[in-house]
């Protein structure tokens, strides 16, 4: 029952997130979606994943989106066209994707026969940490490299390039 509520709420929140005209409303509906998805992770026994989802997605990423939305000027956005000219094709493609996935689920013999057995597997966060740092230590370090590259890239992209600051040094050094 809890899963049914979480699934319905996430689908509704996702649909609202992609159809609202105001980008701030969309971001807030996406926040509702991410919180409900965290509940779904809990039902799958992934406690650490649920906590990460709340902290990273709801806490960091969506706040970042909201800051960008408030930083920029969106007065022209209300008058702009909400959907592209080929929105029918886009919706048809996504409905086709869902239909193919449902067909694959129904026809998969490996999954169709399985009844929902009592799930005895209750993994702990400690187990997750041991597995992450023993078996996946190298991918973990690679992920930190990716994040470092993203931080540097974001700073370089968002930096204001004045003629004086271009090239060497910072602006304060060249322009006292």
């Amino acid at each position: 029952m809890a899963f049914a509520y979480l699934a319905t709420a996430s689908v509704v929140a996702a649909v609202l997130a992609i159809t609202r005209r105001n980008p701030v409303h969309s971001v807030l509906w996406a926040l509702a979606l991410f919180v409900h998805v965290a509940g779904i992770y809990l039902m799958a026994g992934a406690q650490f994943l649920a906590a990460t989802q709340i902290i990273i997605y709801a806490g960091a990423i969506l706040v970042f989106y909201l800051i960008i939305l408030m930083l920029l000027d969106w007065t022209a956005e209300g008058a702009a066209q909400r959907y592209g000219a080929h929105w029918v094709l886009g919706v048809a493609a996504s409905l086709g994707f869902i239909a193919v996935m449902v067909f694959a689920l129904r026809s998969s013999r490996a999954l169709a026969g399985r009844q929902p057995q009592i799930n005895l597997w209750q993994p702990s966060v400690a187990e997750f940490g041991v597995k992450l740092f023993r078996g996946f230590a190298v991918p973990f370090e690679v992920a930190s490299l990716i994040l470092l590259a993203a931080i540097v890239g974001a700073v370089v992209l968002a930096r204001r390039k004045t003629p004086l600051a271009q090239g060497t040094g910072t602006r304060s050094q060249r322009n006292p």
């Binding site: 996430s10 992609i18 996406a30 990423i61 989106y65 920029l72 993203a150 974001a154």
Partner: protein, 101 residues
Amino acid sequence: MAVSLNSFLLLSAVLFGIGMAGFLTRRNLILMLISVEIMLNAVNVSLAGFSMHLHDMGGQIFAVFVIAVATAEVAVGLGILIALQRSRPTAHIDELTQLKW
């Protein structure tokens, strides 16, 4: 209480389809990025479901890596958006045609 793997996969497929529809139909750059986030979340749901079904921690660990990559993608994507905003004050994708020939 046990939930079958099929319900996780069905929910994942529906959420991915919604994100895909949003990415293909919306013309606002920020909304397209949010649609990408919805799709990444949908994939994470199926990873968590498989992890539960197979009693294997690997799915959850992979989902955490997906979240890390999604964070990097958001940082770079919004950095590009700010850089674009300098030259052209819009997030409307139809007006960003500098790279077209």
